[in-house]
Symmetry: C2
Subunit: 263 residues, 2 copies
DNA sequence: ATGGAGGGTTGACCCAGCGTCAAGGTCAAG
DNA sequence: CTTGACCTTGACGCTGGGTCAACCCTCCAT
């Protein structure tokens, strides 16, 4: 007759594991001696070894139960199913690995390559790092929101950058984004922006963009929070009958100055 | 400004996950509105997306923290280390798979092929299934106890089976193992056994066997528990100056009937 | 008989990464 | 005013045990 530690030693497991198997019902609780110690026989050793063999083979404890009591057919079936799970888990980890590799290669977190290229183009235009970070954060959100559209959206952005006015616009953003009211650049930026907007409207490029209204509002509020100058530019443009930032719209004349957009 | 569920939706995570990230300090707790609701801004969306990106890539949350705040070099280093962990985990699962495959192929739990073959040979001799199970359980314990010796032990057993007396011995075990006192086969078995023992002693095959005493006692007690006839056979053999079962020994004449082995 | 060593016992907290109630407060709309 | 959707904190569950804590039992030497 064996004590729990002897049993555990014979089966090559820890005492704690044996008690755990008792608790989950894998190994029946044996008799106790008069002092309360569990006393085991060889049958327990055998059962415990079989449990260990299955558990070491990757069988979840919950399934060890069924497999131990199963006939050869159910046993084979169960083993196959467990192998299927293992294969799936391995594939999952391999997917994870390749994602991790892409992530390390791209070196820009949560951004597809096309966006990284676009940001590099902005850098090439002399745009300051602080503005780049603002853009980057916006693109992170856009990429998360509409991952299937991101490449086409970026393509359109590249086309827009072929317009000299757009290049001129970005050339304003070389320093820190802390413009104050009265900065002469603000009106200049508004002028350039208005020209761009007019051209966009004429080209019929204004309309459904695939984003929902809330998301557009979120993007706008981010810009306004991060760049104080943006608010001033927006104010000028609103006087001239434009509203929006992420998504530009012509405001009908009769609504001007009567219904302000929620800030 | 966003509620927690809007934030979660933008980042593609669950509300519960967001709160979890707050608890573990990955995402700073934002301001609350007057009713206690958390209110988020776009910066939180961006940070949450970056957290998700890393977490989805298999980075443990504890490490996401460092990676988010790390420069490009530490980032690359951290990613490499995580990849190493992933590779190790994949290899572990693959090992598990092959073990599982061997287990399914062997179809006999916790037994090496050599033992399965040996049991098949016994079956071929007409030994009953119940006895086979007794043998099998004993071999499970032996294989667990001395896995490195199991093949040589089995080889010796095969040699023993070349002895016609051993075949004769096993030929007794074709039915149920519930022999009662008075069964004439008991004496016959004892006779055969004694002849085998004598020959083993003469061949010098008795002695150190690589098992410890406790283990031998355990094996003996199993046999005695499972097969009532074994006890009777043992009694006869003890009268004739033998002791042990798993490990046979000549008892010196002066100890006969004075010191019985503990049952 | 007594003290210490070295077993044993139950119970409870710990790890990751949340899912899932529970029990109640808030908000917007009809 | 009610309803239903959403928010809050808190706590338990899952896997497979590891690691104390606090106390009991047995054996051996003194």
């Amino acid at each position: 007759m064996l004590t729990i530690s002897q049993l555990a030693a014979y089966a090559g497991v820890t005492v704690r594991a044996v008690r755990h198997y008792h608790k989950v019902g894998l190994l029946p609780e044996p008799e106790r001696d008069r002092s309360g110690y569990r006393i085991y026989n060889a049958a327990a050793v055998v059962r415990l070894i079989r449990i260990r063999t299955l558990a070491d083979a990757g069988v979840p404890l919950a399934r060890v139960q069924e497999l131990l009591d199963a006939g050869p057919e159910e046993f084979a079936g169960g083993v196959q199913e467990i192998d299927k799970d293992l294969r799936a888990e391995i594939r999952r980890l391999q997917d994870t690995r390749s994602r991790l590799a892409r992530l390390a290669a791209g070196e820009h977190l949560a951004l597809p390559q096309s966006v990284v290229d676009y940001l590099d183009r902005l850098r090439g235009l002399g745009v300051g790092e602080r503005y780049i970070e603002l853009e980057r954060d916006a693109w992170i959100m856009i990429a998360a929101q509409v991952p299937h559209l991101i490449d086409s959206v970026i393509a359109r952005k590249h086309e827009e950058l072929d317009d000299p006015d757009m290049v001129r616009l970005y050339s304003f953003f070389t320093g820190e984004p802390d413009w104050r009211a009265g900065d002469p650049r603000i009106v200049e930026v508004a002028d350039v922006l208005e020209r761009l907007m007019i051209r966009a409207v004429e080209a019929g490029e204004v309309g459904a963009d695939g984003f929902d209204d809330q998301f557009v509002a979120l993007m706008d509020s981010t810009m306004l929070e991060s760049a104080p100058g943006a608010e001033l530019v927006l104010a000028i443009l609103e006087e001239r009958g434009w509203s929006g930032w992420t998504r530009i719209e012509r405001v009908p004349a009769d609504r001007l100055n009567t219904e302000l957009p929620p800030s």
